[in-house]
Structure formats: structure tokens, C-alpha cells
Symmetry: none
Subunit: 247 residues, 2 copies
């Protein structure tokens, strides 16, 4: 068992078709991954199709974990990688998976990493993308840009499998000092910032979500460790205090 | 139309399942390919499934060419690339697709190149592999080495699509939206933050430099564009104002 690949979790959100769940399981097994998490799969999903497409990977299908929300599914993950084929407001910082994988492999050496795939018809919502620390877009032909869900899964998982074969880069000294922050800790930090931005009058309720995109983008790239989260939470607390509204 | 990709022909030999033919069409369209050749597909193949899985790529499905033998299907091709997951007599010279693709792209600039995929259950025969000028093996987990046919197609076609884009990472959409911030702009932003952290009482003069290392680290990784600098400078200004010390 490769411990780095063990830390890569495939998260399927709102999946409609059983065949895609099963194909995703097989693709995971082909790429040395083993943990599947489902977020609110469609109640109409046909599990018999999932089993049929999983072939030799029914073990992954049977061991799947199911969650009501994306937040719960990725609570223990230090990096949350959303997949998107679109541009737009929340997707401006999307990157090529091949560029993102080496850094994510480093993270996965120490903590769980979630690869998050959206619905067959609508992908991930903007709310869900806000939960992601990374957004990747698999390059595709502009004329026909949208991959089938299971095809996206195999393309992304295979990048990780391939990267895991090579001699991994040494962990950076910084990561030895402070462990990668969990998604839960990050969400707590962002919630503190949102409150603080409201209380200091930097934004109002109507624009708070839009404003948090900006900070979310900066902090997703820049704030990675528990130490980073503590400094940002401490700052938010202090700014609230300085604004005369001690939390 | 990319003329190199136009010269890449996908050849499916003895395919059993319509869903795989359709999924292969969609994967081809995603990767900018357009010509599908079938060699002796199973008479039991369900074309309705093929159409269903092709989605927006039914044009490729309808324009397919069918041949009785592999020899006929690849007669015009300058390179014939067989895919195999097994070792053995005819497969010893198999290579990693990522190693083989650059040379094959050069060939495809001048002449057709065939990517040949075998049957779902038995792959390509030794006779068929003898017709191939190249044999590639997509790396996979030894515990579960066999990819679904359509998954193999997307993994291999995507290597060609990516290689056709040329060397170097794709430009990220973000960089088109807001230009990278200059060092001067970054230093101005950091100076604003230092002042603000002092005025809000988050730090004092003695520890300010140490504290700015923490924020500097987060912002160095996370804040990259002029838009990022503006949001951070705006925040610092607002926190100073909220602290009752309008700058």
C-alpha cells in the first residue's frame, strides 16, 4: 500500500448514475486508490449498474462512505481539490492538474487530500467550490470540453498514480514545523474572517459571499498549515476587538 | 482543426460493448480527435448504447469507418500504436505512452497515426501486435492493472491532446483577468499591513518584523495579482478605520 495514495480520497458529489460510480471505483483501483466518499448521491442511482462497472473493484464500492454535505465529507482533508470545466467568478484560479499534482502529493504524504467531482449535469456549485483549496481544470478541446464523470476521475487519479511512482520531492522544512491544516480548521478560520469583515464594515451581508471569494482565493493558495490558520484566526479576533466589538 | 490531431485515428478492434464505443467517441471529441475506425466489432454490439454514451460526439460515431481486418484499418498509417497491459513475447518493447507521444506527434504532423485498442476481454492478439510499430502500456496498479476500454482511450488520447498544445503549462485564466502584481505593489501592501497590525494592537514594534514573516509567507504564496493586492490593501485600510484611527 502506497501511503501517499492511501491519503487520496475520491469524493463524488450528487452523482446521478450508478455506472459512473462503478467506473470511478475501477479507475481508482487501476490507479492504486482505495477510498470513495459519496456526498448526497441521487436516490435514483442504480447500485446494480455501479457494481457491474466496478468489475474487480467492488471492494471499493462496498467500503464507500456516504455524507450529507461536502463539508462533512472533506472535514479531515488538508487539501480539497475541486474539478471544474468552466471559468467564471469562482473558477478564475483553476489550474492544470499536472501543475498542481506535485504539491498535492507532498500534502498527501502528511494528511488526507480530497479530489472532488461534481454532478454529471451541473458539476459543482459555487458554494461547493468555495470549500475547495484548489480548483483544477483538465485541458480539453474547446469544441467539446466536458468529460464524462468517470473519465475525469481516471484522468485526475492517473496523474496522482503516475506522480506517486517517481521519487517524491522532499518535504519542505516548513511542513515539518506545522502540520497541514484540516478543511474543518480552514472553514472555521474563514467563518471568523467573514464575521470580522462584517463587523469592521469591510463588507455587508449582501456582498459578503462575493468578498469571501477574494479572501478565500488568497488564503487557499497561501495559508496551508495549522500555524497559518492560527495566525489568521488571531488576526481576525484582534481586528474585531480593535473595532470595539470583542467577540 | 488541429492538423496533427486530425491525423490521429482511434482504432477499436473487436469491441463487444456499445457503451465503450460511445464513450470512446466522447473522449475523442474531448481531446480534439475526430476519426474512429472499427475492426470487426461484435455483431451483438448495441448501437443504441453507443449513441447514448457519445452524447455530443454522435457525429464521430456516425462518421465511423468499419473494416474487416486490422491490416485494412491501418493501411494508410505511418505509425501503428498498439495498447497492451500484458508483458510477454510481443509486448517486451512496450513503452510508457508519455515517452512515446512526442515522437508520434512528429509523425502525425506528416501522416496518419493509428491508436489501436483491443477487445474488452482479451485485448489484442499477438498477430495484431505484430502489425504495430509501437506498443504502449499505460502504467497501472499491479493489483488491478486492467483499465476499462474507454478509460484507456481517454488516457491515451489525452496525452496526444496535451502534447498537441505544445510545451509549457497552459496559461491560467486568472492571469488574463488580473495582471501579476509588481514587487513594488506587494511591498506597499505589506507596509500597509504592518501599520495596521500595529494600530489594531495585533503586534508591537518589537515583534512586528517577526509577525510580518507569518503574513508575508501566507501572502507570498496566496496573493499574486493586482486584484489580490487591492483587496488586501482595502482590508488593511478598513481595519485601521474600524479601530478608530483613520489613516
Amino acid at each position: 500500500m502506497n501511503p501517499v495514495l492511501q491519503n487520496i480520497k475520491v469524493v463524488l458529489v450528487g452523482t446521478l448514475y450508478g455506472g459512473n460510480v462503478g467506473s470511478a471505483c475501477r479507475a481508482m483501483a487501476n490507479c492504486g486508490l482505495s477510498e470513495l466518499r459519496l456526498v448526497a448521491p441521487s436516490p435514483d442511482l442504480t447500485w446494480a449498474f455501479a457494481e457491474q462497472m466496478a468489475v474487480h473493484a467492488t471492494g471499493i464500492l462496498e467500503a464507500r462512505k456516504t455524507f450529507a454535505t461536502l463539508d462533512e465529507a472533506v472535514a479531515d482533508c488538508a487539501a480539497v481539490v475541486g474539478t471544474s470545466r468552466r471559468g467564471g467568478l469562482y473558477r478564475q484560479h483553476s489550474s492544470d492538474p499536472r501543475e498542481a499534482v506535485p504539491g498535492l502529493i507532498e500534502t498527501a504524504a502528511a494528511a488526507p487530500v480530497a479530489l472532488v467531482f461534481g454532478r454529471e449535469d451541473k458539476g459543482l456549485t459555487n458554494e461547493e467550490l468555495l470549500r475547495c483549496t484548489h480548483v483544477v481544470k483538465i485541458p480539453s478541446s474547446p469544441k467539446c470540453p466536458s468529460f464524462n464523470l468517470a473519465q475525469s476521475v481516471v484522468l485526475l487519479c492517473h496523474e496522482f498514480y503516475r506522480a506517486s511512482l517517481g521519487p517524491g520531492p522532499l518535504p519542505s522544512p516548513e511542513e515539518e514545523v506545522s502540520p497541514p491544516a484540516s478543511s474543518k480548521m480552514r472553514q472555521t478560520m474563514l467563518a471568523h474572517w467573514r464575521e470580522m469583515l462584517l463587523e469592521t464594515g469591510f463588507t455587508d451581508e449582501a456582498r459578503a459571499t462575493h468578498m469571501m471569494e477574494g479572501f478565500g482565493r488568497i488564503f487557499a493558495r497561501g495559508a496551508k498549515t495549522e500555524a497559518d490558520m492560527r495566525i489568521l484566526m488571531g488576526a481576525a479576533r484582534q481586528f474585531r476587538w480593535a473595532a470595539g466589538r470583542r467577540p
